[in-house]
Symmetry: C2
Subunit: 680 residues, 2 copies
């Protein structure tokens, strides 16, 4: 093993580290590769050398948070990534790893960077040569951009957007207008304080004719003064639950005029006379290209979710290994990780983080293989089919994994007891920042419908006797549905029910069963309620469950492929335990459906699943600290008194409490406390 991964300092965590069944360095190298680990280490040194990246948990005002985030985002962009490491990673890999590191060190500056990229990506994809200069100006920070789609009154339903762009052919200008506050653009990151330009989506009107939602690049603030132009009202949205370093904003146009060149004219254009020209022969091409850019962003979000969750799990599991409370006899207290209840609270979520880590990497690879400039050209039909499948996978991943990570973070917070409530524990802000994920980049309950829609469409083909062969081959087993639907649970032992093939078979059955049920219910309801309400009334227990089961299946199947590729037998075995734990723990939630469809019968199935979960939790607990070690960010990034790799919980807690500004002094208003009684 290279000296790239030093041992952890000796301390209270040794108790479990010595019991681990595998070498955490081998697992980490398997997850990350040696080159990535080397790059991460070198990047960390650069970041640690800059005071702006140090965080002492002291409370900051909203303005200070914004300021610090800006400084961090600018500082990280200033780093010449190509020069900082001897690692053989190429440039795009360096960018990706830097983004991962930033997501854990400073989610806000990471989000700020992504908000800026939404602007340049929109220009690159929908703009033409004349818009290129703006991309360069962003890179040299002459201007700052953001992307405005969402309006106060409409988020998920983009057709409902009401900002208008009316073409004035005499002046060759567009007149942007916001009819009322509900039509104000909002939530765009970096809009509130910093952006000088915005890509704005507005309903295009020419001579009273409506041409749909179109993109424009709009100068909104003077780059020399940061003051908004006349006709533009731009306000900061104020304090939020988290991510307060980001200046989300509101944008209102009062008959604001922009030159004709502001129209992003790659897929259509307007002649000086006001004729609209559509450049796209095949609308599919535009759709696929736009989907590609959505995938890149969404997979970034999915990757970030795992980063958040892993941080929380690192803190809670290390704390659980150090914290001792109660014991079988007086004077002998045991780590709380030894308690069944505590294991059951945390360890399934540890398996979730491993599943999420590998699956988000898989999604990245798929996007890279299909949509990036260097990807081999596909024919439009197969690319479109792959985009639809990837959309189904990303939609379910963001929502299903997102809900699990949300619950994981909360469980970690509570599992750290009272001390977990302290800011210096480092979990509160993970939760607050993560919380935005549930509702941005596609509201989860809306998004998850995309997956079931795709599956129901495939099921219709199955029912029509067709074979399923999708580009990513995630649902090909549906072709075999009639056989699968006849299957029953054939496990009669805890060991058997925990086997990968048994778990995957159960999930194949669930997907087929739920697809069939959903399709049938949809058909019945459509007759009486019409398609809109039929779809709405098929979500709970049907479509949503279908998407969830499918995501579990695909993510587990991918994990198994990864496990097969592991060279080290101990690494393979511990990952198999996580596979089984994730599998049986998620299957437990489907027990009623498994009974309903007859896949299981009688009392034993529940007992087997329950016993398997407990046995696997018990099996994993001695490995838990090392499993966390292999995924955890360095202490500098984790920045938690409860979760540091040396396990010195109490020393760190003491330092943090006593070193906080004002911890020991009287408040400035102490006389009010002493003197209030005089008022009585």
């Amino acid at each position: 093993m290279l000296p790239v991964l030093p041992d952890f300092p000796a301390g209270p965590l040794d108790f479990y580290r010595k019991r681990a069944s595998f070498d955490w360095k081998k697992l980490k190298t398997f997850i990350e590769t040696e080159e990535v680990v080397k790059f991460q280490n070198d990047l960390l040194k650069v970041l640690q050398a800059n005071p702006v990246f140090h965080d002492d948990h002291t409370s900051q005002t909203l303005d200070e948070k914004r300021h610090k985030t800006l400084q961090r985002a600018f500082s990280i962009a200033d780093v010449d990534l190509s020069s900082i490491s001897t690692s053989k990673l190429n440039n795009s890999q360096r960018q990706l790893e830097t983004l991962r590191t930033m997501a854990q060190l400073s989610p806000e500056s990471c989000a700020k960077r992504i908000a800026g990229e939404l602007f340049t990506n929109a220009l690159a994809i929908q703009g033409t040569e004349k818009h290129r200069k703006l991309i360069h100006d962003v890179e040299t920070r002459k201007i700052h951009g953001c992307l405005c789609m969402t309006e106060i009154g409409h988020g998920s339903y983009t057709n409902g957007m009401r900002t208008t762009a009316t073409y004035d052919k005499d002046k060759r200008e567009f007149v942007l207008d916001t009819p009322d506050f509900q039509a104000a653009k909002c939530w765009a990151g970096c809009l509130g304080k910093v952006s000088t330009h915005a890509v704005v989506y507005a309903q295009l009107y020419i001579d009273g004719m409506h041409y749909g939602l179109q993109g424009f690049v709009v100068p909104i603030r003077d780059p020399k003064t940061l003051l908004p132009f006349v006709g533009v009202t731009v306000a900061d949205m104020g304090e939020k639950i988290g991510l307060n370093g980001i200046d989300n904003g509101v944008l209102i146009f009062d008959k604001y005029r922009i030159p004709a060149d502001c129209y992003l004219n790659k897929y259509g254009d307007i002649t000086p006379e006001g004729d609209y020209i559509n450049y796209i022969k095949d609308a599919q091409e535009k759709q696929t290209i736009i989907m590609g850019s959505i995938f890149v962003a969404r997979i970034g979000v999915i990757g970030a979710m795992e980063c958040y969750g892993t941080k929380a799990l690192t803190i809670a599991i290390r704390y659980a290994a150090v914290r001792r409370q109660f014991g079988p006899s007086d004077g002998e207290e045991v780590p709380i990780l030894e308690y069944q209840s505590h294991q059951h609270r945390l360890l399934p979520y540890l398996s979730v983080m491993y599943v999420a880590r590998f699956f988000s990497s898989y999604l990245s690879e798929v996007v890279e293989g299909l949509f990036l400039d260097s990807s081999p050209k596909q024919n439009p039909e197969s690319l479109s089919a792959a985009a639809a499948e990837l959309h189904a996978l990303c939609s379910a991943s963001k929502s299903v994994l997102g809900w699990m990570v949300r619950d994981a973070i909360q469980e970690c917070r509570e599992a750290c007891g009272g001390h977990g409530y302290l800011k210096v524990a480092g979990i509160g802000h993970i939760r607050d920042d993560f919380d935005a994920v549930s509702t941005y980049d596609g509201e989860n309950h809306v998004l998850i419908q995309q997956t079931s829609n795709w599956l129901v469409k495939l099921w219709s083909r199955v029912e029509a006797g067709g074979q399923i062969s999708t580009p990513l081959q995630t649902a090909n087993f549906l072709s075999d549905a009639s056989r699968i639907l006849k299957l029953k649970l054939n496990a009669t032992s805890v060991e058997k029910i925990s086997q990968p093939e048994d778990i995957l078979q159960a999930y194949q059955w669930l997907v087929c069963y739920l697809a069939k049920q959903t399709k049938a219910k949809l058909a019945t309801l459509t007759q009486t309620q019409g398609p809109f309400w039929a779809r709405s009334n098929t979500q709970v227990f049907y479509a949503k469950s279908l998407s969830t089961a499918f995501l579990h299946y695909v993510a587990l199947r991918h994990l198994l492929t990864k496990i097969d590729a592991a060279a080290n037998i101990e690494v393979k075995n511990v990952l198999l335990k996580l596979f089984s734990l994730y599998g049986v723990w998620t299957l437990e939630k489907f027990l009623p459906t498994l009974y309903q469809g007859g896949y299981v019968q009688g009392p034993e199935a529940t007992s087997l699943v329950h016993d398997a979960i407990l046995a696997l939790c018990h099996d994993v607990k001695d490995d838990a600290v090392s499993l966390v070690d292999a995924m955890a960010p360095p202490d500098f990034i984790l920045n938690s008194v409860l979760g540091a790799s040396d396990g010195q919980v109490y020393q760190r807690l003491k330092s943090a409490i006593f070193m906080a500004p004002g911890a020991l002094g009287r408040p400035s208003w102490w006389r009010e406390v002493v003197g209030w009684k005089n008022k009585l």
Copy 2:
């Protein structure tokens, strides 16, 4: 109806208000009584007249939060409650309603007051005549007190406390000492900045003999200067996830000497010569009295939980009734409350708030009937038995209802979409403040074991052929276990399975089944693992499920009693719907166990439960706004742009955004944004 409840202003919420099946004023009066409503209204006017109770959502520093909380707590205590209303409530009812109002208006000043009461209650219960003066000094604010039990290294396991109090008979003093940081007292509210005195629990040693954990009242800061005395180190614990108005503190003694009179000597004393005298003939009496004071605090917490949850539900349901997105045809958008998925996310939690509201009132009444000074005297045995039963109920309520309220708040936050992430939505701080509840006043996973321990003990009696008759009669049905365990689900329709008697029967079966299973597993494991590990390894799927099922059963049974007492038929009917929704929705989580134990068989049971949940959600949705109206705090207290009673979501959002300080201006560091490029 009295003019005490004015109509809500006309607006977007009329759509649902007009569809309600009942009169919200009648329901509110049924929940609260007319006298309470009158008092609440008058109290509100007093609070609104004081600028210190107005909150504009602008961000505050930690110090500002502390300062404001102090001012609020002092101001509310200054109000002469007896003079503010013509309501016929007696003094203790006025105190209770004020506390409820404060829990919703300013949870931190409410918590501050409770922290102070922990001090005076400890003096009243464990102190003697010589300590009375201190209580009076607190009332006149000459001194400020807090209660110190928890240490850095020990919370749930009180035997592990390590602060020592050594009696020095020569000087007639105690020497308090904190051996190391893990033994530092911590988390006490008001300790960090304000308290001049603390009740401290320390291990008493006299002449090298150990006399257990004992209470002392300890002067820690000079009341004239608020500076700590020499020998006392007291630090603020710093920023937390929420409740930052409270100054939680750390307390360390360095061989600190206090006079002998500081010992709280009601139940034992120390002679000048150092002999320990135990005054209690019957330890049961002391235990019961201390339990009584724990109940009062815990039921206060349970009541506060419902206050938090109801606020969140009010916001989310009103917003869901106003927010429109998508629709069956272009130009026709529907309120998101119409979507099945949205109903299923929110409405079961609405039923939880009703169950919690009535059940916490019930618990209060029980405590009042048993433990307050005016209560009729019980014999010690029956009082002790009632205390044990009440402890079982409170423990399960705090944990099970607590987890449901936690999930409710999070669901409400997400159900409000992106706008729910704004501070002005008012949900973020509910979650942050509520979050403390999970781990204070007894860690939930530790607490819930108290309930299962009690039930398993009863079950042993059942197995020995005994009859169960507990003072509060919550578990008497266990006597009938052999009949109950033979029962099967006899519902074959959605209507039938939603009937109160069917739901209660299912829960009776569950409690019997899980008690039997838990007892059996405990017995088996004890043989191989000993009692300590046997109990730990019987928690998941056994003991915890048992406590949960029992809590649902008792809370539902109580709700039914309340419903029977309702005079108005519409009120009765809507509460019955909530009963059924809570019943079938919570039963769904037990479906695997119901299959496991043979109470249900075959595929239909799952379908029936699922269909019943959806039918009830649909049934409740037109009543949801009015159900919220009957429970909601006034707008001044709710303080949410999304949840105000006029439904003017967008106007309020606009005002809030534009009126926030600095919303429209440049940041002070704007030159850094403009000039950073020069650094490149």
